[in-house]
């Protein structure tokens, strides 16, 4: 039994009853057993639940109901609530938190016969770019175990490429799906803000957070988005627009597609190897019929990092104010007063990066600094959004590297927060503008993966899928797998 197939391949096998969901799930669980000691993608493995759900899926399939995701094992990032299964955000604060309800996306997958393998390791509260901020243990990049898988959905990306899950659901606030997808050579999709309900996603930065799939190919990405997209009255920021069948946009040519390359994304700090790989990938798009415009400019890009690291921590400090040790989560016992208890709860419950961001946000919003930082960042946000809109009047998609470097070594950036923030320099402007973005495998530099990021206007998911699919079908990167034998 092969643990390494795509959703659409497995679906055909399940539908024609060549395999059962139980057999498939067991094969994936065996694979987890085999490589998890090296990769550490999971915080919680829900073995019994998975087998039980696989059994139910098999019953459904026998009854003639085999939807595209029915019976297919999935890994859920540990910041999405799962009723009865602990949801930790890889934080000591929520180490024992068992949600009383399911996130909307989990509900949707459940309705389609999901088999949940477990909850993924991640950077604490989704704050980080390497998975090193997990309060439990770092995840290792399956292509080189000494390197990071990216983050914060690093556990999801590492699991999908190493055969520990057929697909995964991640979340992306500044690149947390796309950057690890690029670092691990899988497909990572961040939908338009409002396309997928955030109900039940533990809030980090509410105007930036969005849930999306990490998959082995573009077709799978479209299949998962088909299942999770749509309006939800319980998320008042989800947008009430019809959900098309995204698989219809998977056409293997790019005739007439206008591709723009924003020059600000190829600047200082970018590794030469990464730049070469992405330039080759863009040439490939041209061969597929796209008209490439290398002269697109997004002049506010250099200020995007600062804009993001004011806006996101400001929203985070408000969202994380709820962790007070009273209603749920870690609670410090050895305290003298209510305030002392609250301060100690947050001191011992949160890790260093979460504390840094809470303090950064508190500072940016505090009296005397609000106008210079928060308000200024919001105005820069307007400029960034306008520049994207302007660019999309000239082209259908924009193409950039997903990250300026290949995966870096574990430990290399942990003591320098600013260096860590730079890992998301190509992905975070997209969250600022709320537009959709996808990272597709674009090649390797010395055996380490490089991702190409494709961007589109709000709700132009179909245009992105078409460009990503055409490129993927013309290349063979999606078939490469890291060698990870025996534990």
């Amino acid at each position: 039994m092969d643990y390494d197939l795509t959703i659409h391949e497995v679906h055909e096998l399940l539908k024609s009853r060549k395999i059962s969901s139980i057999e498939l799930t067991q094969a994936v669980l065996d694979r987890i057993e085999e490589v998890e000691g090296k990769v550490s993608s999971f915080v919680t493995i829900t073995r019994d639940l998975a087998l039980d759900q696989a059994h139910q899926a098999d019953e459904r399939i026998k009854a003639g109901e085999c939807l595209p995701l029915t019976g297919i094992p999935v890994l859920i990032k540990d910041n999405m609530c799962t009723r009865g299964t602990r949801t930790t955000c890889s934080s000591k604060m929520l180490e024992n938190f068992v949600p009383p309800y399911d996130a909307k996306v989990v509900e949707k997958l459940n309705d389609r016969g999901m088999v949940m393998l477990g909850k993924s390791n991640m950077d604490e509260f989704a704050m980080g770019s390497s998975n090193e901020n997990s309060a439990f243990y770092p995840t290792h990049n399956p292509w080189d175990l000494e390197r990071v898988p990216g983050g914060s959905s690093g556990g999801c990306a590492a699991a999908v490429v190493s055969g520990e899950a057929v697909y995964a659901l991640g979340s992306d606030t500044g690149g947390s799906i796309r950057q690890p997808a690029g670092f691990c050579s899988v497909v990572g999709f961040k939908p338009t803000y409002g396309r997928v309900s955030r109900y039940g996603l533990v809030a980090f930065a509410s105007s930036l957070d969005q849930i999306g799939p990490l998959t082995r190919d573009v077709t799978d990405s479209a299949l998962v988005l088909n299942a999770i997209a749509g309006h939800d009255p319980r998320d008042s920021t989800s947008v009430d627009q019809p959900v098309p069948d995204y698989t219809k946009s998977l056409v293997p040519d790019l005739k007439g597609t206008r591709v723009g390359v924003p020059r600000e994304y190829f600047v200082e700090g970018m590794e030469r190897g990464v730049e070469q790989v992405v330039r080759q990938a863009i040439d490939q798009l041209e061969e597929l019929g796209a008209e490439v415009n290398w002269e697109i400019s997004l002049p506010s890009t250099p200020a995007a990092l600062a804009c993001y690291y004011i806006v996101a921590p400001s929203e985070a400090m408000a969202n994380l104010a709820r962790y007070d040790g009273v209603k749920y989560g870690f609670s410090a016992r050895d305290a003298e007063s209510m305030w002392d208890a609250m301060e100690k709860t947050r001191q011992h419950g949160f890790g260093p990066e979460v504390k840094r961001r809470i303090m950064l946000g508190t500072y940016a919003l505090s009296a005397g600094y609000y106008e210079a930082y928060y308000l200024k960042a919001q105005k820069v946000r307007t400029l960034i959004t306008r520049e994207f809109a302007e660019a999309f009047s000239k082209c259908d998609v924009l193409v950039t590297p997903t990250s300026p470097t290949v995966p870096f070594r574990i430990g290399e950036r942990v003591d320098d927060p600013l260096q860590m923030y730079l890992a998301d320099v190509c992905t975070l402007p997209i969250n600022i503008a709320g537009i959709p973005g996808i990272s597709v495998p674009a090649g390797f530099v010395d055996g380490l993966p490089v991702g190409m990021q494709i961007l589109g206007k709000p709700f132009a998911e179909e245009t992105l899928f078409r460009a990503a699919f055409a490129y993927e079908q013309a290349t063979e990167w999606r078939h490469r797998r890291p060698v990870l034998n025996g534990a």
Binding site: F97, V98, P100, Y101, Y193, G194, S207, P233, S236, T237, V239, S300, P302, A303, L305, A306, C307, Y309, M317, A321, V326, K327, Y328, G329, S331, S337, M338, W339, E343, K344, R346, Q347, F350, P352, K355, R356, I358, M359, L360, T362, Y363, S366, A372, Y373, L375, K376, A377, Q378, K379, V380, T382, L383, T385, P417, L418, Y421, I432, A433, G434, P458
Partner: protein
């Protein structure tokens, strides 16, 4: 923008975040370094540019005020660090 140890301490207090003495220095250096790099924001001309707080231009989202089932108290209290008679137990607010 440099942040002194005292300023870090003040911010931590505003955020109700206990910080070890030994960490104050580290945070002061790191946060100063980050904020210095954010001076680039001040170089962007934002004259007459309105702020954006949200990527989707939504005005108030309203719904009918209908009675719907809610969570069972026991389900909510299951995660409570301290519980008493169906309530969250808290420390005295007034001393």
């Amino acid at each position: 923008m440099k942040l002194s140890r005292e300023e870090v301490q003040h911010i931590a207090l505003l955020a109700r975040l206990g910080v070890d003495e030994s960490d104050l220095e580290k945070f002061s250096v790191q946060l100063s370094n980050i904020l210095e790099n954010f001076d680039i924001l001040q170089q962007v001309d934002t004259t007459d540019v309105p702020p954006t707080s949200h990527p989707v231009a939504l005005s108030n989202v309203l719904r009918e005020d209908e009675v719907t089932p809610s969570f069972a108290p026991a389900d909510i209290l299951a995660n409570a660090p301290q519980e008493e008679e169906g309530c969250f137990r808290v420390r005295a607010v007034l001393e």
